[in-house]
């Protein structure tokens, strides 16, 4: 239901499929980035799994013309992107690996179409970023408004993210191959709407509906998804395993790929469903 017909999902979402295994491992990037975020992680799994990378519409190398402000006005449009990719490739029993906001995209998709998924690996997940009386999300409404303003300021020099200086980085030639592809969201308006959708959404009530085995990778000192948030998720999702990482910050897949890979592998080997 709601499957987007008449559109080439593969190019729309810049889908990449490779690897030597049969079970799909689908990587979903977070807010502000694209599939490149995963490049330190997937090499560890490409021998045993079918690796699927994609960009949400409006991010990375996706087709920004396919962006629809109504569709992407809530996480459900992003959920549809993920489901479209799975349907288009005929995937089932996917191991979903999501970072940041993608964790909730994966959660919602797994509730909507459980048959597509085998297990979920959530890196730095949060179901609600803004505090209320009984819940600590880590932010106040005003923080988020300031963020939106700051993003706008940084898009004055937006070319910094895509500009020629970055495209031809002489010092890091190993990055050369992917520099032709854009890195962040290509359109400030899209990025701003994505930020609003990400930081203002509330998916706490959806957590109890998750039926798949879940691994929660919680970073130490992550200001975007603080430890209390990870623990909250762990309590709400009955079939979840919780790992507090030594890695700090919000991007362990970039800053501590070794630890990330190790914990993922451990979960996948122990997962009795596999």
């Amino acid at each position: 239901m709601g499957f987007t017909l008449g559109m080439d999902v593969i190019s729309r979402n810049n889908v990449k499929v490779f690897g030597h295994g049969s079970q799909p491992m689908v990587f979903a990037h977070g807010f502000g980035c694209g599939q490149h975020m995963w490049r330190y992680i997937w090499p560890a799994f490409e021998n045993d799994y079918k690796i699927v990378l994609f960009d949400y519409v409006g991010s990375g190398g996706s087709d920004a013309l396919a962006y629809n402000t109504e569709r992407y006005d809530s996480l459900h449009g992003y959920v549809q992107d993920l489901l479209d990719v799975c349907h288009e490739l005929g995937l089932s029993k996917c191991i979903f690996v999501g970072h940041s906001v993608s964790c909730m995209v994966g959660v919602l998709a797994s509730v909507k179409a459980p048959e597509l998924f085998d297990s979920l690996i959530l890196i730095g997940p949060s179901a609600r970023y803004i505090d209320d009386e009984k819940y600590t999300g880590g932010f106040k409404q005003t923080d988020i408004e300031e963020l939106l303003e700051m993003m706008e300021k940084n898009y004055i020099g937006w070319s910094n993210f895509l500009g020629p200086a970055i495209m031809q980085n002489q010092e890091r030639p190993e990055l050369g191959a992917e520099l032709t592809e854009s890195f962040c969201s290509t359109d400030p308006k899209i990025a701003k709407q994505f930020a609003r959708v990400t930081f203002l959404s509330d998916n706490r009530k959806d957590l109890v509906n998750v039926r798949h085995p879940v691994l929660i990778l919680q970073c130490s000192e992550d200001i975007i998804a603080p430890v209390q948030v990870g623990e909250f998720l762990h309590r709400q999702i009955s079939n979840s395993e919780y790992k507090l990482m030594q890695a700090t910050g919000h991007c362990p897949h970039l800053s501590a790929p070794g630890e990330t890979i190790e914990l993922m592998s451990e979960f996948l080997t122990n997962n009795p469903w596999k």
Partner: protein
């Protein structure tokens, strides 16, 4: 060397070096002055702790990934937080560097007090301009779209009106026009039969076939009439309790003699709006379907679960999206199952996969119609030998703008 150190400390911008974990390993004096906090206190802190909360998010989602992947990040606007808590707007440039195999990042912060004011004005003007432009463009687009839609709608209403006339006409045909000839055939057939003696066994057999065909015709016209009439249900839309409806439907199926017992396992199903008579009927059909396709080796068990999801309220419009609350109910049996490639065929009118059953092939088509009448959807997934799951998705509220 001393001069270099002096220059570094006195640079007209703040300068820090931080390691891969984000811990500051060096901070110059200027930064200390900017933040109203001596440089030696800054060393050892995590870099993001020097930022305001919103800047921390930007640092984590944009700045750090950019720096990590590209080795540099330039002209990024961030806000530092001074020791007293007041914000310090800065322009940041940063580079990755390797010293003795150790990766670290050098970062300079140039305060942009004046530039920031100017930029804010610029942004504000820009924002208003863009908003006006956007609203204007949107209004124009909407106006065109509305006109087109009204035109389309008008045409579709004409066609729909014609169709529903035909549909009702068909109902009349089933009710009267077709019943009457069948009745007559049946009547005179009985008369003939009671009168005549038939010479051979062949004739006897042919008569039996005619008799069976008459019964089949009666059954079919009755079922089709039922199918046409279900859309005319007159009861109002109310909040439905699926658990109750399921129990009522099961009891009815048992009472009607379809099965002596049905093992029904339900979770806590969410409530939703709809017409009770139609959904009760839907569950009756699903039970009958499950009974007809029961696995001979095991007791029939039906498991019903429900969950709240969000679905696009628009089902036909390709570029319209409005995600609203829906209920997804899964009705799973442990019957014989069927080849999943027929998962759409089974909802077709008079389509039957299992020829051994007495069903008319109308049950699931009826279910589909009931869902359509409630702006919902129905689909099936099945594994041969394991069972069939019927998935129903229906809006929580029947009024489009609710939820």
């Amino acid at each position: 060397m001393e001069i270099a150190e002096h220059i570094l400390q006195e640079l007209p911008c703040g300068c820090v070096v931080f390691d891969e974990a984000g811990t500051v390993t060096f901070a110059n004096r200027t930064l200390g002055l900017l933040l109203n906090n001596p440089a030696e206190n800054i060393v050892g802190q995590r870099l993001e702790m020097l930022l305001t909360i919103s800047s921390r998010i930007f640092y984590q989602t944009h700045f750090f990934p950019l720096l990590r992947l590209k080795g540099q990040a330039n002209e990024i606007f961030l806000t530092l937080k001074s020791e007293s808590g007041s914000p310090v707007p800065v322009m940041v440039n940063a580079n990755a560097t390797t010293n003795n195999g150790q990766l670290s990042y050098i970062c300079v912060f140039a305060p942009v007090w004046e530039r920031q004011k100017y930029e804010e004005q610029l942004l504000e003007t820009n924002r208003r301009h863009q908003q006006a432009q956007q609203e204007n463009a949107m209004l124009n687009e909407l106006r065109d779209e509305l006109e087109l839609n009204q035109f389309e709608l008008d045409r579709k209403i004409s066609i729909l009106r014609e169709h529903s006339q035909e549909y009702l006409q068909m109902g009349k045909v089933f009710m009267h026009d077709m019943q009457e000839p069948i009745r007559k055939i049946s009547l005179f057939f009985d008369k003939l039969k009671s009168k005549g003696k038939f010479a051979n066994a062949d004739d006897e057999m042919h008569l039996a076939v005619i008799n069976k065909s008459i019964l089949r015709l009666r059954f079919l016209t009755g079922s089709l009439l039922d199918f046409v009439q279900i859309s005319k249900a007159a009861d109002p839309v109310t909040m439905l309790n699926a658990n109750e409806l399921l129990v009522q439907a099961r009891n009815q199926v048992i009472r009607d003699g379809y099965s002596p017992e049905i093992n029904l396992v339900t979770g806590n199903l969410p409530e939703f709006e709809g017409r009770a008579s139609q959904f009760r009927r839907l569950f009756v059909e699903l039970f009958k379907n499950a009974i007809e396709n029961k696995h001979p080796d095991r007791e029939l068990t039906i498991q019903v679960t429900g969950v709240a999801i969000e679905e696009n309220a628009y089902q036909n419009h390709l570029s319209k999206y409005k995600y609203i609350d829906h209920i997804k109910i899964e009705f799973a049996d442990n019957g014989i199952g069927f080849d999943d490639q027929f998962n759409e065929y089974i909802f077709g009118l008079l389509n039957k996969l299992n020829a051994d059953t007495n069903g008319s092939g109308l049950g699931l088509a009826l279910c589909k119609q009931i869902l359509s009448l409630h702006y919902g959807k129905i689909k099936a997934k099945s594994v041969i030998g394991q069972g069939t799951t019927i998935v129903i998705v229906v809006p929580l509220h029947q009024t489009a703008l609710q939820g």
